[in-house]
Amino acid sequence: DTAVSQTPKYLVTQMGNDKSIKCEQNLGHDTMYWYKQDSKKFLKIMFSYNNKELIINETVPNRFSPKSPDKAHLNLHINSLELGDSAVYFCASSPDPSGEKLFFGSGTQLSVL
């Protein structure tokens, strides 16, 4: 059983398109996150949700809209994709909103052409 699963694993799309990445965790955790990893492996938080409520929005462009239908799911929708959005996006979860000890998914590699 995969604890934090995200789909798709690879996403190749044209500039200007809209795409979504889905994430689900079966750990019973209250808090979920989206992190972005650039080509130099730098990992930076984008959003965090606790029990479906947004708690961190790290000045991400509003083309990125997270949605949490329930505490086990946190999806990421991206409008009007740009070349600079190309990166690996990681979903993660943690037992509580302290931010400690995150459990990460395997990542979605997004390539915008």
């Binding site: 934090v4 996150y33 130099k40 492996k41 730098f42 990992l43 930076k44 938080i45 965090s48 708690i55 961190i56 790290e58 990681f90 993660a92 909103p97 302290s98 931010g99 400690e100 000890k101 995150l102 459990f103 990460f104 998914g105 395997s106 990542g107």
Partner: protein
């Protein structure tokens, strides 16, 4: 401000030797630190964590050392194995979020 940096971007060691990966942090108020291992094509995987009221913590083949005086964190891996090849990240806890360092790529020579 919040920033975490690493002294070396790459580290190459002989199989069986001990590895030491270093990390400097800037926020003296941080009270929680964590190391992650990321293998190629996978997400970061938890290795070990430590709170600021400790200066050493041991796990299975890994030890984390925290020196608050110089704001330095290190990860020691004993008897390094081929399966230890990965990128290693330190992170410190900011305001309800982990702030990650640059990462160190560890390669193992046979």
């Amino acid at each position: 401000g919040e920033s975490v940096g690493l002294h070396l971007p790459t580290l190459s060691v002989q199989e069986g030797d001990n590895s030491i990966i270093n990390c400097a942090y800037s926020n003296s108020a941080s009270d929680y630190f964590i190391w992650y291992k990321q293998e190629s094509g996978k997400g970061p995987q938890f290795i070990i964590d430590i709170r600021s009221n400790m200066d050493k913590r041991q796990g299975q083949r890994v030890t984390v050392l925290l020196n608050k005086t110089v704001k330095h964190l290190s990860l020691q891996i004993a008897a390094t194995q081929p399966g230890d090849s990965a990128v290693y990240f330190c992170a410190e806890l900011g305001a309800q979020k982990l702030v990650f360092g640059q990462g160190t790529r560890l390669t193992i020579n046979p």
